[in-house]
């Protein structure tokens, strides 16, 4: 089982769209996939039409009163399951604080599922908190969507520094990629070109800023399902293929 978290300190950069579309593509290839919507806003759950509710809330899960397995919901797509969001996840840090070794807790909760799934995607809320530290400890890979601006690249550096300093037992591999790319914007072009010249850990594939990604909200499906031949689908397929070579 490989754990992949989509993470960025900033919101609105395409984390959820990435998690939803890549999870769908992985499942479509035949792998067994679980997506855990850790964001209390519940966008991933919404896209899959799953009610954002977990019995007992995040507290019961974190405390082990309810097995994660019990909270799993099948999506409309074969091989693709979801642990829905719950509004109580906004207090995840509080729940984690009360456990012994809080940063290891998410990994512990996932452990019983390791034989059941090939990939677990964690869709994280935008923050640096105890919950995100627990995500860093549990994840093998952090997929970091970056809007092509100078600041976002600096944020990637800061994330790297944080992971190095944090003393994790096995820090995740950080794979940045450009998201919401608009080639008409000069700044986007320049930042991407600079990154291509220097940075190995920014993936080659770029996810465009595209109307079909925005339409996920109205169709409530992953992009490849309703816009199979769109350039966004092609980009997500490429991203998944490229990311796999870097795991």
């Amino acid at each position: 089982m490989r754990v992949i978290a989509t993470y960025n300190l900033k919101g609105g950069v395409g984390k959820t769209a990435t998690a939803v579309n890549l999870a769908y593509l992985a499942a479509d290839e035949g792998a067994r996939v679980l997506l855990w919507d850790l964001d209390p806003q519940g966008a991933a759950s919404f896209y899959f039409r799953v009610k954002p509710k977990v019995k007992g809330g995040g507290k019961a899960l974190v405390r082990g009163k309810r097995a994660l397995d019990d909270a799993v919901k099948g999506t409309d797509f074969q091989n693709l399951d979801l642990v829905p969001s719950d509004f109580s996840y906004r207090n995840l840090d509080l729940f984690l604080e009360r456990t012994k070794k809080p940063t290891r807790r998410l990994g512990q909760l996932l452990r019983p599922l390791r034989k059941e799934y090939d990939y677990v995607f964690l869709d994280c809320p935008p923050s640096i908190s105890l919950a995100s530290e627990s995500v860093f400890e549990a994840a093998d890979v952090l997929l970091v969507p970056l809007i092509p601006t100078t600041l976002s690249l600096r944020a990637l550096d800061q994330l790297d520094d944080f992971l190095r300093r944090d003393g994790l037992r096995s820090p995740p591999k950080v794979l940045g990629f450009f998201s919401m790319v608009d080639r008409r914007k000069r700044l986007h072009r320049d930042v991407i070109d600079d990154a291509a010249a220097g940075r190995r850990r920014v993936l080659r594939t770029r996810i465009p800023s595209a109307v079909e990604i925005e339409r996920m909200g109205t169709s409530r499906k992953p992009v490849p399902v309703f816009a199979g031949s769109s350039r966004s689908t092609v980009a997500y397929r490429d991203l998944w293929a490229e990311a796999k070579t870097r795991f």
């Binding site: 290839e29 035949g30 792998a31 067994r32 899959f48 039409r49 799953v50 009610k51 909270a71 799993v72 919901k73 099948g74 999506t75 409309d76 074969q78 091989n79 399951d81 090939d118 990939y119 409530r220």
Partner: protein, 529 residues
């Protein structure tokens, strides 16, 4: 409710009426009808079924997909887009699903069992968010070029939504035109073309009658072993996978062992004849099995070399493949011989003619035949155990390798007796003995294999030089493998004492004693009293 609910449609039933009934209470969305050709795949020993699953290749007008699904929940365990199904799971394009599948099949081939033509009418049951909570499938399947199977209506809840569709299942259960159907359509199809799913296992699954005589018990065991040989012969001839020959050989070895321990139980003339003939069968199956073992171990040989030298071993791999083909051809020729045909006919006739009671048993020629099987087999188990203990205790670090080889044969004989006649005794007596014996046999087997393989590689090297010359690099690589095997052999030899001591314990000896004395029998009689 997390399990699939299946119903068989009675002939007078009307599926559309049942579905409209459901529509009154649930939101159903009809999917386009699928017409698919399905081919069911399994390993010969039903490994997918043993894992509670089925594997089928589905082909529709525009695509092919290999589906691996759970029988109880209907969930997909894996799917792989492919137009053709290779002989082995590991030959599929690399993916996590394939790794999981290959861990089920291991060395066994995927064998097509039955072809089906299906019309699948799927309705999604959705909640107020438009989320699918269950799938209702009307499965109308016909065996390709064969009979139409009864239509099956299947309600499969999506994971986590069992409660939401419980009432739908109850509604279906109340329909007069539906009867509950425990089996998946694939299982119904397999039965209808004559398969008995799960019927073959490489493990000996005997349940001997504790009141039987020795002659009866020996006959039941020999019949079962002969059936195993017969079951594997076709796959062995076709070289479908290496396990057919393996299981065939194990059945032959068990037969030989049971015959060796059949003194005074079976007619001495028949016994002598059969021992000779099965020894011959053992001999003719050895060369292809040796080649199989080498080919199966080849990846391990490669891994023992540094990556830059692995290519040097390739000519040896090709040589082994040629050897395997040649040896297999010779085996098939031997199986076609009059001698083998006579053996099969006469052995079958003999086993069929064996009396079920004690009629025709000659107490002069077979004094133990009419004795209780429990007593006779118990005595032979104890004797075999003593042989192992005596020989094992005599082995010193300086002993000749041949001593370990002889001990291995004795241990095997004891193991076969326990496996073949173990069901006569309480399992709590037999299991611990088998467990420790198994550990001992593993060490002895590793030692023997390393010795035999090292010798064989040297012999193969010589043959390669004689046939078409082998490069120095290849011979050096083969030399490294011999060293690797010697190291393994040494490690096995070193762990022998420890393993033997675990077998040579009071607890094991006590179990064997109780098997021999039959104390458990009187105990159970007292219990009844």
């Amino acid at each position: 409710m997390n399990h699939v609910a299946r119903f068989r449609m009675l002939e007078r039933g009307d599926a559309s009426r049942v579905i409209s009934g459901l529509e009154q209470r649930f939101d159903l969305i009809r999917e386009p009808e699928q017409r698919v050709q399905r081919v069911v795949y399994e390993t010969f020993d039903w490994r997918f079924l043993a894992a509670g699953s089925v594997l089928e290749h589905r082909r529709s007008a525009d695509s092919g997909v290999l589906l691996w699904r759970s029988l109880s929940t209907g969930e997909l365990l894996g799917q792989i887009a492919t137009d053709t199904v290779p002989r082995f799971a590991w030959e599929l394009p690399h993916a996590p699903t394939v790794d999981r599948m290959a861990s089920i099949t291991e060395v066994r081939a995927l064998v097509p069992l039955v072809s089906l033509d299906s019309r699948l009418d799927v309705h999604r049951v959705v909640d107020d968010e438009g989320k699918t909570v269950a799938r209702l499938t009307l499965d109308r399947t016909r065996i390709s070029d064969g009979e139409e199977l009864p239509a099956v209506l299947e309600l499969a809840p999506v994971r986590g939504y069992g409660e939401e569709v419980r009432s739908a299942a109850e509604l279906l259960s109340a329909q007069m035109t539906l009867v509950p159907e425990p089996d998946d359509v694939v299982m119904i199809a397999l039965r209808s073309v004559g398969f008995a799913p799960g019927s073959y296992s490489s493990k000996l699954r005997l349940s001997l009658d504790r009141g039987s005589t020795a002659r009866q018990a020996w006959t039941v065991v020999l019949r079962a072993l002969f059936a195993t040989m017969q079951a594997n012969e076709s796959g062995l001839r076709g070289d479908v996978d290496s396990e057919f020959l393996h299981d065939f050989r194990v059945a032959v070895r068990r037969t030989r062992s049971v015959l060796a321990d059949a003194k005074d139980v079976l007619d001495p003339d028949v016994r002598a004849w059969a021992r000779g003939e099965f020894r011959w069968v053992g001999q003719i199956t050895s060369p292809p099995r040796d080649a199989d073992v080498f080919l199966l171990a080849f990846p391990e040989f490669e891994a023992a070399l540094p990556p830059e030298r692995r290519n040097d071993l390739k000519p040896f791999g090709s040589f082994l493949l040629d050897e395997q083909r040649r040896a297999h051809g010779q085996l098939v020729a031997a199986l076609d011989s009059q001698r083998y045909r006579d053996l099969v006919t006469q052995w079958r006739e003999h086993l069929e003619a064996e009396p079920n009671g004690n009629d025709g048993v000659d107490p002069e020629r077979t004094p133990d035949a009419a004795q209780p099987a429990i007593a006779v087999a118990g005595a032979r188990i104890r004797k075999a155990h003593r042989r192992v203990i005596r020989r094992g205790r005599a082995i010193k670090p300086t002993s000749h390798p041949e001593e370990l080889h002889e001990l291995r044969k004795d241990a095997k004989r004891l193991r076969y007796l326990l496996e073949c006649f173990g069901s006569l005794y309480p399992s709590d007596l037999v299991t611990p003995v088998v467990r420790e014996l198994k550990g001992l046999q593993e060490v002895l087997g590793d030692f023997q294999d390393s010795q035999v393989q090292a010798d064989a590689i040297e012999r193969f090297g010589q043959q390669m030089i004689e046939r078409n010359g082998a490069s120095a690099a290849t011979l050096l690589a083969m030399g490294s493998i011999v060293e690797h095997l010697d190291t393994q052999g040494l490690a096995a030899q070193e762990s022998f004492r420890h393993r033997f001591e675990r077998f040579d314990t009071k607890a094991v000896r006590r179990s064997v004693k109780r098997i021999h004395r039959g104390r458990h029998i009187s105990t159970s009689a007292e219990d009844h009293a």
